[in-house]
Amino acid sequence: MHHVVLERWSQGASVMHRRDPRAKIAALMVFLVVLATAHRSLPAFGLALLLLLSAALIWARLPLFSALARAAIVLPFSLVFAAVCWLSGDPGRGFALLLKSYLSALAVLLVVATTPFPALLRGLEMSGAPRFLLMVAQFLYRYLFVISEEAQHMTKAAASRGATVRGFMAGARFRAAAGALAVLFARSYGRAEDIHRSMRARGFLGRFQPFTALRFRGGDAVFTLFASLAPVLLRAAVERGV
């Protein structure tokens, strides 16, 4: 599954991995804003940013090509709109949509693949995002796998009982699927209550206690400065040069 690979990638030990999550979040925001507001000489600027991100991926010792392929997950959606743009006589905008959505996804992937998810959420929390929401997100991420597996088991079981046979009455199948979802809901709810009880029994009072505090060091400040300046300078250079 997608997030298992990400989880493995984020456990690396490169310089990029060791940076404070807040430094990476700040640099990501600058990158995204600089990219989103670019309008002139996009092909050259896009190529420059692609090279920048590729260099960062190599620097973080991540597999370059599978990362590039993974970010292409946005392309089907963008391609539809790019085709519409092209058909309505605005191929430039279509190209911009493809380029911007792909590069933005790649930049996000770079940050997420070099930051373990709990650290990323802590970075977001220290940047002011609501803690309650982030805790919900953390539980969601933790049980995503568990509940998805349960759903897979249920669909497999239903298929083995003939739920996918063609010609079977659609109405009955529809009701059966609704019943399966209701059972999955009830099981998830029950599981959540069990989790809650056992966490309470272990002394959970509504917030996580992190073992180590995040520390924003000099290296992080330097990283933030350079990583934020890079896209800005690239854009200035590209637009000056044309």
Partner: protein, 302 residues
Amino acid sequence: MHIPDGFLSTPVWATMDVAAAPAVGYIVRRAQRGFDDSRVPLLGVMGAFVFAAQMINFPVGIGTTSHLVGGALLAYTLGPAAASVVMCAIIAIQALVFQDGGILAMGANLINMALVGVLAGYLPFYLWGGGRWRKLAIFAGGAFSLLASAVLALAELLVSGVPMPASVLGVSLALFMVSALLEGAITLAVIQALETIQPGFVRKPETGRSFALGAIGLAAVLLAAVGVLAASTAPDGIEKLGLQTGIASHVRSLVTTPLTGYQVAFFQAGWLRKASAGLAGLALIYGACLLIGRAVARKRSA
């Protein structure tokens, strides 16, 4: 429809982000009020359920299947505020982990799906969920929730200048309509199945409370949807109107005025000036939100 980065124009995503930050903050507080803090696992696990629910396919015709989106279902079971928080967490995880939906566009996605989508889905249930029209209200909620998010997303794309010929717009609206009806049907079927398993899962809306307010809200949402559709079929008309009344220039000066004085001399390039002004604006808004949030939190704990 999770909008990726690069689709929305800067004024659109910036406005949506600025609007989403306090709205999400408010809804999180609201959810916390009704929820014991230590019950946070429930919301997380139900979020995971919504993800997993996409694996269970519903047959809806020859060879095609559909799946639950879940905003309305969560609102009927966990309550609207908690459901909104769960949807916010889902959208954040989709954007961060699955690269489905953008980061700058997250404000727009949050408003479309987690805030407006969930609340629009809850409204019919809130108004008529206790009476004779219960089934219809549940069905309408599911359909309404999906339709509201889809129309909002389309409108944001249109306002951003993504060209959509009338035919494409018509086809996508028709598709959204069909998926909205399916979402309504699936939501109703699942709620009925849930009530057979254990009636306590589904909330009982209090009857006869602030009916007028709800009706006004519903009318407002409907009006907005109709207005958006009307506007999107004639986007040039709106633009012309804006130019004629001078709204566009007013808005522009309103946006740039606070920061025009800070244009640094060595920033010769126009975009650099704009981008730095934009970044500074974002930083200012972020700082203001942070300070207000801290102040409110302190006041509450004091």
